[in-house]
Symmetry: D4
Subunit: 228 residues, 8 copies
């Protein structure tokens, strides 16, 4: 392997994998949960320095973390739905990626997916609130769905939407279960299992509420190669 693929910056308490874009096409992101705001800002700063042309991303930021990121990076910081994306967003080169969600309560996860996708140069289209209890809302959007090169489907509760969408399109379908629901939804286990058992062949699944991961998978699929 070449040098840049194996590079990292050692902060002692963290080793920032600066070689990741060369290897995987996308920069390392910061998982903010369990880190202090100072640690999050520190890693973001290291990432910005290593890759000035890329957007540095932190996920699962709470309010205190978000405030410190905004204080540290000012206008460069775009923060929404627990994501902080620092840097100028690239022009959308690839897509469109449809981000479809079943209900309004699923919107924060869809927003996480959209923000991360756009930070990685993808063009996104939101199709909101098209749950299967009122199928015509979805069927009205079949045209838009079929224009998408990749479809991210976000749903909680019964998690039935990805099966229906995947039966209508030929593009890759990435299903994101959400923790929306109560009781036997078990914090997202119900839609997770639904999606893993989809009767529509070719649906793939990411972790519960993992809009970030769905966007990163879409980026891999769309072939966003690093601007090394």
């Amino acid at each position: 392997m070449q040098y840049e693929e194996q590079a990292y910056t050692d902060l002692g308490w963290a080793k920032i994998d600066t070689g990741r874009p060369a290897r995987t096409g996308a920069a390392e992101a910061v998982y903010a949960a369990g880190k202090t705001p100072e640690q999050v800002v520190g890693v973001l700063r290291t990432l910005r320095e290593a890759h000035p042309g890329r957007v540095a991303i932190a996920t699962r930021c709470d309010d205190a973390c978000t405030e410190q990121v905004q204080a540290a990076f000012g206008d460069e910081a775009h923060c929404e739905a627990g994501v902080c994306a620092v840097g100028d967003f690239p022009d959308p080169e690839n897509g469109p990626v449809a981000v479809v969600c079943a209900g309004t309560s699923d919107l924060p996860v869809a927003t996480e997916a959209e923000l991360v996708a756009r930070a990685n140069g993808l063009d996104t289209r939101l199709i909101a609130d098209v749950g299967v209890a009122g199928l015509h809302r979805l069927l009205d959007r079949v045209g838009a769905l079929r224009e998408a090169a990749c479809v991210i489907v976000v749903a909680g509760m019964d998690g039935a939407l990805p099966s229906v969408v995947a039966g209508l399109v030929s593009a890759p379908v990435i299903a994101v279960p959400t923790s929306v629901g109560y009781g036997a939804a078990f914090g997202g286990i119900a839609p997770l299992l639904t999606m893993l058992n989809s009767c529509s062949p070719g649906v793939t699944v990411v972790n519960i509420d993992n809009g970030f991961g769905a966007a990163m998978a879409a980026a891999r699929i769309m072939g966003v190669k690093a601007q090394r």
Copy 2:
């Protein structure tokens, strides 16, 4: 409570609840699993004697049990999909009840539901293999679905079908998860959770593979009162 409501026949090892029709509208059924074929035949015989005008039902019969029931009751025994229904089926008085299933592998559970429903005087209509991966198959049947006074929906794997059906009809929808599937289907847990979390209001659920229970619920709903 009146006498006949509280009647039972004591066989020592079993107490046949002969008062059940008077109380609940339907005769006691035999759960054959864990019983010897002799015990199953014994209870069926007691039920036939107590209620000559009713069909006596045993569920979860294995092959040995089915054979002994057929040997004991001859042409009176109608056995399919693990159900043995003994006696002349009544003319269908109520319905129609639509029995909808998602895939061909779900047919045995649907058959259990149909047989028990018909033994209780319900008129049934089977709508098979209309899973959500090919929605148009279901949408082609909306007319038939809307004619049904009650809809039983049988599905394994993702269990998404009841949510879609319940968004299209105003009749009661009884969802039956099946053990069809593998891996993260967990023997029917996946569709069970899907159905309990349906985004379509008013779906009710019975146990995994419980076609019998769905039919009995339909019988309660259709108001099949006992011919006491």
Copy 3:
């Protein structure tokens, strides 16, 4: 399908399924959890405009949400147990529906069921605190139970009540497990499993704490009966 069945109002972030009453007999309800109070009020307003003669319902409202709904709709808003029902309640046309609960701690879920049922035109009767540890309390109400056209049974902990009730009546029995209990109640899993495995044939089950769903199922059932 006819036009009105496929209608919806597109708010961008939400697509209100205004065709739902034509298809399923009941208007869309708002699941307030995970939505901002503004979003909840917005959807309720759209529903009120689309169906002035119907009661618009939001479930799972927290205090902040309830306050904004009350501020927005004034006397039209009837809020209790996390439900906000906006509009004039119809005269009870159908019923009675018995809402039975095992313990006093189950009352909030029973209240959710009653409020939603009445908003859908059902006549309800509450039979509270008749858990099986003191059977005579329930047996004293057998007369009232048998007058009911449909019975909703709400219970936490051991969830044993629906099995007992279903052995006494011929009406449909909808069981609602609650999260009342601790330890091995596992937030309602214990009574949920109890109810799914009821030894009384024909019990159907809804999600944990889902009084709303039970009422909607009762509305579907009573609609059927009304037509016959």
Copy 4:
């Protein structure tokens, strides 16, 4: 502790705890599952030699094991429902202990409990097939139940019976969940949870299908009573 309390016989591959009667009032029993028939016979023989006046017990014997025990001990061996009890049964000194079961399919577990209880000198009374779907069968036996000094209640599926029984008697109630059922019964988890969450105070629970353990608990309880 005294010598006899700490005695054991060392077979190398097994150390038979011959001091157990002196400490706990009952001899060690053999858990036959996972042991060869020869090992089971060997331990039973050691127990018979150490305590000639006691019945030696093996549980969970399969057919091959049962045959070898019968071959080894002849008429001394009483084998039923997977239990082999070797030796003369004592006259029943204590009791009566009621063994109540919900359905006929629960009988093998009830038989295990009865056989072990009688081998330990308890007088037992079987009350079979009194599940809560037909309450009058149980209410007809309230007199017999109240005569019992201790009640063992065996039930699968919804496991509701112990809650009802414990509301009718003042004696100790030991609940035994069984693996009778299918689907969401999860091999006995459903009735186990039901019983652990009983709304009737003072119900205690043993492992799924553990008729042996219930009988041993009854023996401890009846020993206490005998002393007072």
Copy 5:
């Protein structure tokens, strides 16, 4: 059944089972979780009026509830570890009941058991902090353990203590798993399973943290008959 066994006081929102002492030997207790403080005080007052000679008990009281109970009943209220016991404690007639706990963190559950036991006329002895990691602490108490007519063993984490205790005594052993622990203790599931699978025959188990239930089982065992 006689009249007093079937008596209850109907408050509308609650039906106080005043016949319970006549049937089961102990008065109904109030499960305070999910009830308002006013409801709890109301039920306690009804119980006090129905049975002036008995201690009325509420469990799972939070601070607000405890304060209102103390305000309502003054010196009559004995409140500790979430239990409020109202009335004069009877002289201990029966026992001793040993309440054994594995660690200091299990003390609140042990206290719940002790308070409820004493309110029911049992004499209790606390043996604290004798977990199996230092066996000699327990072995030093074998004498005291063997004097007990009934033993309640309270343990979290590995829940190993009841198996060891039951191998040393002939009295009934009631095991109480606690939610003490973290990670794979899963809120008490770990010790619950340990206890259900005890290798010492005759251990019975109650719900996680259910000191109340263990005391009520001890009361049944000790034969505390109602002072009707």
Copy 6:
């Protein structure tokens, strides 16, 4: 939607979705578990007639089913690892798709993936037995991995391989957990959870042992790439 997208062939007990290729790019496959061999052959025949130029696929075939498929279709049938693919395989147009597996015991699932992928026109490369316990085996294949346009990673037990692979390549990574393992592998739950929680961003997951689904996802992904 156009006619051919909505076409299906109604066999009564099955409705073959012949419009699926037009909508999703791939023909319906037969899930053979729970179907009779006659049903499987029947659906395969219908698919062959509807799409003579396509390979018809049945998955989860047992031996009896495989034999009947081979008898019915002769040389046209290619059967391996439970998959029966009937028809001439297309020339590989797209790829390469790397199918990587952690251990030799995972090979059947990898074979399922390869066969289905090739039946859908993908060029596949197997990289077997490169589990993380001996990293150098994998690192020796980095070149081959990076040449792949899409990577399917099959692993049981700890399921660690996809995380490592995804850190080395920029292509899409589809993770397939297998049921290889015992004890706390829980039939594939362990690697399923590992993969859903991958620390390498952009890994997507399919059901346990679902080599078929992974291949179908790869086909969707490679279809996308082909169009650009």
Copy 7:
């Protein structure tokens, strides 16, 4: 890393990690489940050729596999409890390692541990059937336990033994849960959780029934000790 650490033999369908001894001190073992007997023999042969002085090990061999291994290697093959160890056992250099088991039914897992340990040059001592229901059997062996440099404790059901042992010795304690038990033992989950939550500090745990893994951990530990 040096060459020999990175060596492997590529059989196409398998890549034998011949560098493993140089890296980890022990040769690769064959997990036979899911492999054909031919594959198992093939890997064993490769291992024997690469490391003639080492014992080659296959675990989880069924009868057919065992027979073929014995046929292939003759007297070199030592097969017991599902393990096939091929080659001359080294003289025991390190130890002693005590292998302690709670009951006779746990012996097969203890045997797997002993055989693998001895194949890796460890001296083992079996202490069988010392479960905590009869503590004196264990306390009689404290001397032998304290002579051990490392202790492997094998237990099913309640899994309580490792906690007790670890409170008596200062050596490392490796706990092996077994699948011995039924009902709520859940195939070994109960003792697994017990052991993970041990109240005795410093207990470590391996997978259910994983005698092999425990022995390999002991080998790592004894290697450490030998070097100092």
Copy 8:
């Protein structure tokens, strides 16, 4: 056993096992959760008095507890990551023990392990943030890893790191799953299962977030004998 091995100090509500160092090589530690700060200080004081030359340890201290410990012991108290270690740390006699963690969010658990290890006389080396998504960071540390006599590996999410580390070193590997992650990480179940199913032989596992237990196991392994 000798006297000092069986010594304890009885505080009534606690029995401090002062004989533990003589038996197990390490003093009893205080599990602070569920104890009052006063209780924690009390036990620490007793431990300090019994073993003046040892560091007394409390784990799982919340802020209030930590403050009181610091107030009570002043400079003697070293508190970090929920651990309070009171007394002068011994010179590191044994090691080095490598504490490796996958991500920065795992640092608190690693800190718990380091602090406890050092309090027990072990020399520790932290290797932070070497998760498998960027393997080169870990491979850069192979030299340091191989110098370690024992390796503790701390990881959340996919928990893949211990398998990789154990394939590179011959020292004992103790794996610590953490609760870092969300959704299907299930509070640490995901990495716990990963580690229990490690494909690298000889990995042992402790409870989720149990840095303390890992350090105590390391102390056993390193042979830290008590300075009695």
